[in-house]
């Protein structure tokens, strides 16, 4: 019997602990598939964040650590500068990357740090229980915006790709989603390019992936997908913002 679909080697044995309908599982798998296809598992290091994906290091079959809140790009910088031969990626949520860790991501990107960042944007704080994130939409109700996010009080949703595309050190930058099989394929290609930016020593690579949080959004997984399409896409348009990697040969 021929095996045509199996668990990537870059994923470990431990079962995911994410909520039903959460997209972390899909995204983890895509990262693992890319790492396998590039043949870099044995020299790739994961820097996990704080938040729901704090356990990411347990799910990948590779060396890993957990950075303090928002500091994954700095930790990854320390790793990469001490061992340029290793591949290192950070896996960060919107609270981690776009709030407490804004300085670290901007400076790592601007230095052209040869690291890869997987940025999962679900517009809310997950693990801490559904508070407002920098990416929370205007009018969106969270536990700290019970009347809905208001620009005059809470500021506007943060557009990280739009900010980072101006940084000269960025070699690849894209925003994707994983709500359809076609989107999953596109996201995988984007992740691969973000890693190629590192492998080819072109600079910093990041993929922002729009994601659902049925638990904290308070809606079921199917409705969450629809909500993402209808509400997040107008605010966070998909696309490739920077691509110095070029097409695969």
């Amino acid at each position: 019997m021929q095996v045509i679909y199996k668990k990537p080697e870059a994923l470990g044995e431990k079962e995911f602990t994410y909520c039903p309908g959460c997209h972390h599982g899909i995204i983890h798998r895509l990262v693992a598939e890319v790492v396998d296809e590039l043949g870099i598992r044995e020299k790739t290091l994961v820097v996990a964040p704080i938040g729901c994906s704090v356990f990411a290091y347990q799910f990948f079959n590779m060396d890993g650590t957990v950075a303090p809140h928002g500091r994954a790009p700095a930790v990854a910088t320390g790793i990469k500068r001490s061992r340029p031969d290793l591949m290192v990626f950070t896996y960060q949520g919107d609270g981690d990357l776009a709030a407490i860790g804004t300085a670290e991501i901007i400076h790592a990107a601007n230095r052209g740090e040869k690291i890869t960042t997987i940025f999962v944007n679900n517009a809310i704080y997950g693990m801490t229980g559904g508070q407002m994130a920098p990416t929370t939409l205007l009018g969106m109700k969270t536990t700290t915006t019970p009347y809905g996010r208001k620009a005059e009080n809470d500021g506007y949703p943060m557009h990280m790709c739009e900010f980072l595309k101006e940084a000269k050190g960025v070699a690849y930058l894209a925003r994707t989603k994983v709500t359809t099989p076609q989107d999953v394929e596109k996201t995988k290609k984007a992740i691969k390019k973000a890693f190629l930016a590192q492998i080819n020593e072109l600079g910093f690579g990041m993929v922002e992936i729009l994601s659902t949080c049925p638990t904290n959004w308070g809606i079921d997984p199917i409705t969450s997908m629809k909500w993402l399409e209808e509400n997040m896409i107008p605010e966070y348009p998909l696309g490739v913002f920077v691509d110095k990697v070029g097409d695969e040969k």
Partner: protein
Amino acid sequence: MEKVMVKGTEAIGEAAIRAGCRHFFGYPITPQSELPEYMSKRLPEVDGVFLQTESEVATVNMLYGAACTGTRVMTSTSSPGFSLMMEGVSYIACAQLPAVFVNVVRGGPGLGDIQPAQGDYWQATKGGGHGDYKLITLAPSTVQEAVDLTVLAFDLADKYRNPALILADGLLGQMMEPVVFPDFRDLSTLPDHSSWAMTGAKGRKPHLITSFDIDPYVLEKMNLVLVEKYKEIEKKEIRWEEYKTEDANIVITAFGTIGRIAKSVVDMARKDGIKVGLFRPITVWPFPYEPLEKLADKVDMFFDVEMNMGQMLEDVLISIKGRKPVKFYSRMGGVVPTPNEIYEALKKEIGR
């Protein structure tokens, strides 16, 4: 051995390179900016890496990352900068990573000033970051000692997989003195960290370096591992200097540069026939409690001198256990007392 005239900050930098450090991440802050400046010039000459970071917060996390790969790594900063690093120091201590910090202490609290002070003693020795952890803290009093302790800091950090701190101050950082540098360490002789370092999971199970466990019983076990390690360090690594304590009636306790000023006070007092000695902790954590306690049998009085509100004083009192009087003299805000001022204060205490 050739003696060279060199500034404290630069001497520490050169000592670090000779100890095998090839990675320095740092952010400028007075009065220690000459150290990153020195490293930015010197490290490329030895195929090392210097990176000026965006903040002290980023700095400490870069140290964390580099230490994860088993690399000898260092940063230097001054008081407000070290406060910013506290979160990361706690993480590094918990993750049991070797990294060397230099804090050239200045007047505080808050923004303070840029003059020498010792107000970070508690932060260095009692925590500062969150949770139960300890920093191996070495307090040099001369530029030569700063050189020697910098090398020791790397070796102790590696040996115990624990962050080590050089607790200096603006005076030591800025003064020039003749020093003898150690030879360059052969990098191939540095400790092997392959059993735990993150170097890529080739042909082995992944190495996971973290500072947390969600299960309190598992985390407590990890805490106890640290406690045992700290006990071992307390047993094996205390260092101190005694000066003319053999026949002393009064012993001055002082650390760092004021410990050196106190040495002059001892000599001044001896000239007047007052038998004064000096006890200077070199490791302020682990603190040399027992050696100091032994002196309580022999002397009439202790005189603790510091450039803070009396921070090491608490450790002195713990050592003496109330058996002899402990008097205290201090200057703060970046004011460095002269030997005369300290001697006058001492004479006042003993009615001379």
